[in-house]
Structure formats: C-alpha cells, structure tokens
C-alpha cells in the first residue's frame, strides 16, 4: 500500500486557444501523505484552482494520472466520481458558490442530499458541520443575506458535512477581514488535528508560515517550482 493518499504524476491540462494550446498545468507531479497540510502558493493564473478541481474530480486532465487512496480518480465514471466527491472530498471554493435562495442549513445539506443516508443522519451531520464552522446561529437564514465571512463559514460547513478525508480550499481568506481570516486559520488547524488531509491554494502570505503546514509549494505557470 502506498504511503501517499494523493499521487499526481505528469498531470497536464490545457485549453484550445487560437489554434494552439494554452497549458494551465504541465508535467505536474505531487504526492500528499494522509493527514498532511499542504499550501499551494502562487499568483492568479498559476493553475492552483485547476489543480484543486482535478484532484476533486470536478475537471478531468488531458493526460497524466491522479490516484487518491490508490484509485485512479480521473478514470472513474461520472456516477463513481460523484460518489467519490460527495464522500471523500470537501471543497471550499474561492467565491463560496452558495445557492443564494436556499437557507444555510439547506446549503450545508447539499452534498448529503444525493448521498445514501437517512434524514436523521443527514440532519445530525448538518448540525455538527455548522457547529464546527460556528454558523449554527444562522441555520435558517437565506444565504443571500449573509456577510462574506458568514458565507465562507457556510461553505466550510458544507465541505465538512460528509466528514471527508480530504479538504481542498481555494483562496479561503480572499474576501475576509483579518479577524475572520485568523478564525479560519484556527479552524484549519483543528481539521488538521482531526487527521484530515488539507490542501490550501492561496496567495495570502499568512499561510506561508503556518505551524501545522508540512509544506508550502510554489506554483508558477502550471508547474510546481518549489
């Protein structure tokens, strides 16, 4: 059995542009151990978001392979990829991506709705996730009425609802004030202590010196340079 939870080899992703190819990721290799916290640092357009989308299975690479727990994620059918995403990956998106007309609890329950579990278990998990993200007091509020920091916490609660092994965060502090950003870092530490594997893509300098982060990797033009 491999020591790595996530193994990425020779990953490539490009888009057709003007008769040629625009490479977003090229020859990318990355191995992440179970329980590790990895920070991906780079400017906008360096390929961080694309990499996270590929690990989560939201996007598919053009070549290379991605193994998660030994499973070739990029080769799964849609149904199993969705199960994988729903059960094993929690993703926090850069712009939260909440469903504005639904309430907080309904948003948090989204990944669990398509999962094979009963109502009681679903309600319990939603409560636990909201408590962990400290957003329980806004359970019945519509997502559209929340502040930026509150939306971010809802997005985190949604990512934690299915108790996934892997947490992927894309620019989690981009739209937060200092206090909220620091609260978020405390939460990440908590998740790391719970044994979750956390990958954070950010250009926030605060993440460069996290005590619990095992590695900080710099990305430039679709490659990991350090």
């Amino acid at each position: 059995m491999s020591q790595y939870l996530i193994e990425i080899q020779d990953l490539e992703r490009f888009f057709a542009e003007g008769g040629g190819r625009l490479y977003v990721l090229q020859n990318l290799c990355l191995n992440v151990k179970r329980g590790e916290c990895v920070v991906l640092q780079g400017i906008s357009g360096s390929g961080k978001t694309t990499l996270l989308n590929l690990i989560a299975g939201i996007d598919r690479p053009d070549s290379g392979r991605i193994l998660v727990g030994g499973e070739p994620v990029n080769k799964l059918s849609d149904r199993f990829l969705s199960i994988f995403r729903g059960r094993h990956v929690g993703m926090v998106f850069q712009h939260y991506h909440l469903i504005d007309h639904l309430s907080v609890s309904q948003n948090v329950a989204v990944p669990l709705t398509a999962a094979d579990m009963g109502f009681a278990e679903q309600r319990q998990r939603v409560r636990q996730a909201m408590a962990l993200a400290n957003i329980s007091h806004k359970a019945d509020s519509t997502a559209a009425t929340l502040s930026g920091g509150e939306k971010q916490r809802v997005a985190i609660a949604r990512a934690l609802a299915s108790d996934p092994e892997i947490i992927l965060c894309d620019e989690p502090t981009a739209n937060l004030d200092r206090a909220n950003a620091e609260a978020l870092i405390v939460l990440f530490e908590k998740l790391h202590n719970m044994g979750k594997t956390v990958i954070i893509a950010t250009h926030d300098p605060r993440f460069l010196s996290l005590p619990f982060a095992s590695r900080v990797l710099r990305m430039e033009q679709g490659e990991i340079v350090s």
Binding site: N74, L76, S77, D78, R79
Partner: protein, 334 residues
C-alpha cells in the same frame, strides 16, 4: 384516412404514440454515435462527451418506459370503448380480433414493454458496475427498441385505419368459447390437470429460483407464462365472472369486476417481465441479478394468491365449484 381517427380517445392515443416515437427518433443520432465511438478505456474529450450523452439515452428510455406503461391500459380501454359502436364486439377482445394484425400488435406492445424493462435492468447494472461493461449491449438494445417501436407505431396506425365500424365482429364468447370439437387449452390438457400444472409450475419456478438454477428458473417462467394465461382465461377468470362460459381476458378490467383485471394481469405481467428480464440480463451480462428475481417471485406469488382467493371464495359461498361449461356448438369463422 379513416374517420375513426376523429374519435377523441383514438386521436389522443395516436398522437401520444407519435410524440413518443419522435422523441426516440431525435435520440437516435446519439445512440448511433455512442455505438460507433464508445471506448471507455480511453479518456479523451470525445469519450467524456459520449459519457454525458449516454445520460440522454437513459432519460429518453425512462420517459418512453413510463409513457408506454401509461399508454398500454389506455390502448385497452380505447378498444373497449370502441366496442360500443362496432357491431358484434362486446369488449376489447372483439375489436382487437377485427384484423389478424390486431393480436400481433398487442403482442408487439407487450414485447416493447418487456424490452424496455430489460433495457432498464441492463442500464442499472451497467451504471452500478462502474466501467460501463454493458454499454455496447445497451446501445444495441436501444436501436432495436427504436426499430420495434417504429413497427409498433406503423401497425397501430394501420390497425385503426383499417377498422371498419360497419363490419360485424366476433364477441369474446365466440373467440374464447369452448367450441364443439375443439379444445383451446394447451398441450391437449383438460381444465383440472391444467390448474394442477399451474400450481406445480409456479412452485417449480419458486424452487428453482431458491436453488439458484437460472436455466430451470427461466424454463419454468416461460412455461408458467403459457399455463397462467390459459388458466386465467379458462378457469380463474370464470370464477371472477362467476360464469362458466365467460372467458374474456378484457372484461375483468371493467368497473363491474372492481377493475381486478389490472391486478391479475399486472401482477402476472410484472412478475414474468422482471423474472425473464433478469434472467436474460444474467445471460447477457453474466452477472447475478438476484434482486429482480426476488421481486418477480413475490409478484407471481401474489398473482397465484389472488386467483386462488376467487376460487376459494366462490366455493365457500356456494359450497361447490362452478358447473362445467356447455359447448356453444358454434363453428369459428375462418
């Protein structure tokens, strides 16, 4: 065009069948593309597009199945309503027998429903398998379904167009009655031996399923299909109507008999469809399909129970079985 198409029910039915066919027709290019280019082992952009397109076929198949399931009883009732204006016919049985193609049409409709069940079974296992092992089989079945449904539509329109409301038709007493010198029961059986065989074959079907003998189970179901059909027509049906000479398969769908025809034929058809589809799928996919076989066994057992209840109820109330039917002495017109 026959003015019978102006009959509201026929108009609605013909329009509905046409719309279903049109939806299938527009899905055919996707089916052909899937058959030509499908290669799950590759992970090119084309393959990922095809995997998304496969869901279109699934949506269309479910849509067609639901509609066909709704339209089948509607078809039966349309024929039944027509019997009011067609001389001689007392119910749907007479109308459908107007033309030899009528019974072929009925069998084809049943075959289409069966094929749809089979497709959905294969699809469910194909999706659950994870690597789309049976996708090619599925898409070939889809194309075959389109061909069958096209033929069905053509036969349906042709049947209604040829229907002559001035011609005198046969009623079910003539069609299904015990005619002098002719035994309509299969294998030359008499009634009581046939009923005994009915229970024996049912029991054998259950036993072969429990013993996990798929080929024997398949044979039992096929035999049961024939025996059950004749048993309902010539034995159990008479207890539903409480008339020894009433053999119509359609009259029990009516209000007078508490619409029990739906339960009787529905349970039988459902049990047979699921059981046979499961076995055919097992043969095609070489994969155990036990859940459907279990449901099939339950449905067939409920069917047997329902039929038995009518006989037992009659005997309890009257202290005797129904008297034997007297032959009509009529010669069936050729």
């Amino acid at each position: 065009m026959n003015p019978i198409f102006l009959d509201r029910n026929i108009f609605v039915y013909a329009l509905s069948e046409t719309v279903v066919w049109i939806v299938l027709f527009f899905a055919m290019p996707a089916a052909v593309a899937l058959l030509r280019y499908w290669d799950f082992s590759s992970y090119t952009a084309l393959q990922f597009r095809l995997e998304r397109r496969a869901y279109l076929l699934m949506s269309v198949a479910v849509f067609v199945f639901v509609l066909k399931l709704l339209l089948f009883p509607y078809f039966i009732f349309t024929l039944d309503k027509l019997s009011a204006i067609v001389p001689g016919a007392m119910c749907a049985a007479g109308v459908i027998s107007f033309d030899p193609s009528g019974m072929h049409l009925l069998y084809l409709k049943i075959a289409v429903l069966f094929m749809l069940v089979l497709w959905l079974v294969v699809n469910q296992y194909d999706l659950a398998g994870g690597n789309y092992r049976w996708s090619r089989l599925k898409y070939r079945l889809f194309v075959l379904l389109f061909v069958l449904i096209s033929v069905e539509l053509w036969l349906t329109l042709r049947f209604f167009n040829a229907l002559d409301i001035h011609a005198v038709l046969n009623c079910c007493a003539t069609l299904y009655g015990l005619l002098e010198g002719m035994n309509p029961l299969p294998f030359g059986l008499e009634k009581i031996p046939m009923v005994v065989l009915f229970y024996l074959v049912w029991f054998f079907a259950l036993f072969s399923h429990a013993a996990r003998k798929p080929l024997r189970h398949f044979a039992a179901l096929m035999l049961f299909a024939v025996i059950a059909y004749y048993s309902v027509l010539y034995f159990f049906g008479t207890y539903i109507y409480e008339l020894p000479g009433h053999h119509c398969p359609f009259c029990m769908f009516q209000r007078d008999y508490w619409y029990v025809g739906y339960a009787v034929w529905g349970l039988l058809a459902g049990g047979l469809f699921l059981g046979i589809a499961a076995l055919v799928a097992e043969i095609m996919m070489r994969e155990k399909v036990s859940l459907l076989k279990r449901i099939s066994s339950w449905l067939l057992s409920l069917f047997v129970l329902l039929c038995t209840v009518y006989v037992v109820s009659y005997v309890i109330r009257n202290g005797t079985l129904l008297p034997e039917e007297v032959s009509t002495g009529m010669v069936m017109p050729m």
